[in-house]
Amino acid sequence: MLSLGSAQIIKRKSIVVIEDSLVEGAFVDEVEIQGEDGLWVGAANLNQTRKDNSGVAVYGAWQIVKHNNLIKSPGWYLLKYDDENGRAVEIREISGSLLAVNSCEFKDGKFEGGSVKQELVITLDLEIEKLKLPKTQLLFAEEYYKTLDAKERARMRFQAVYYFVLLSGFAGWYFYSELNSKKADENLVQLNSTINQISSDRDELRLSKIKEYPKDTAILNRILNVIYIDPNAKTNGEQEFSGDIEMLVDGSISDENRVIKSGVSFIRYPTGEFKVRLKND
């Protein structure tokens, strides 16, 4: 059972629950609560409750019902403040939404005004200690807008810090990259300079040194061999040392085997002349 108007500790928080309504016109001095979709309270009641319970958060009973989604279908709902008193609200489904359209007081065990069929009324059992409390307590318009301003300021502060950190991060990263890039470039320039210097030295050195002297001993000996066999032997025109050497020999058949030993290929012409190809390897 609800305990209206008196402070209680719910989930380590001091709160007071007061009477409110989901339908306009329930209180003489009613004001609409800002930040809620259709919630009214008596202004004097809210002020007095705050005065009596300084520093304690004030919530509305129906505010808690709505926040915990206790109304799930159309019909009349009764929220009792004690055994004999309370407030009933009629909920209808309009365009797919459940909306409060009527309300009436439940006084001394009877519904005052409205066409309430008592047997169809759903009584809400509000075990407040088991329910979630709304994020904001009951606020008058100016209080609500102050809260919004404070939230907006906090959000802007957060954004300012967020972007500052973000930009600082990017700036830091950029400068770090630049620094690294410069260092790397300097290293690479120095390395390239060293490489160029050594390349230049190498080119100069290379022109003054040779790995080994050219050596054509093998082919020269083969030519000499042929000449020893036939002193009149001649080359087949001018012969390049880049390839095999061809020689023409006027040898007799008895010289044939000796000449063959000096060359790789051997051709005997009908004229009796041999052509010997000397391998230059």
Binding site: T194, N221, I245
Partner: protein, 137 residues
């Protein structure tokens, strides 16, 4: 708020870290490639330093010419030359008795750098085109 802030900033921090790591990796690769190049170059220079000195080309040429002529051959200097390599050189044609001309160039090749280009033997006479290498001083 702190939690949201951390969640919001964390991806950027991680992204920045990964980008920097990648950047460093690229830099290291570049430097590494250059260092390898330097190492190869140093090896090449060391190898060249251990090679044989060519000596002045005029000295080599005169050695060749004098030795050939002392052994009955003639040497004719050819200005345009036959050699198209990187060294400095003098080119010429040695003419003489086939056996001697061949023996002369064979003998001298062990003492001075001589490149043989071609040989033409006709009627016991040989003509050999050569280039004597050396340093231009």
């Amino acid at each position: 708020m702190t939690k949201k802030f951390v969640i919001a900033v964390l991806p950027f921090v991680l992204l920045g870290y990964l980008v920097m790591e990648e950047f460093n990796s690229v830099t290291i690769k570049k430097v590494s490639v250059k260092a390898d190049e330097l190492s190869m170059l140093s090896s090449e220079v060391e190898s060249i330093e251990n090679s044989i000195e060519l000596g002045p080309k005029i000295d080599n040429w005169m050695t060749f010419k004098n030795f050939a002529e002392a052994n009955g051959a003639t040497v004719e200097w050819v200005k345009d030359g036959f050699y198209d390599g990187e060294y400095d050189y003098y080119s010429g044609i040695i003419t003489g008795n086939s056996k001697y001309a061949i023996a002369i160039v064979g003998e001298l090749q062990s003492e001075i750098p001589i490149i043989l280009h071609s040989i033409n033997i006709l009627g016991k006479t040989a003509q050999i085109k050569v280039s004597v290498l050396g340093v231009d001083q």
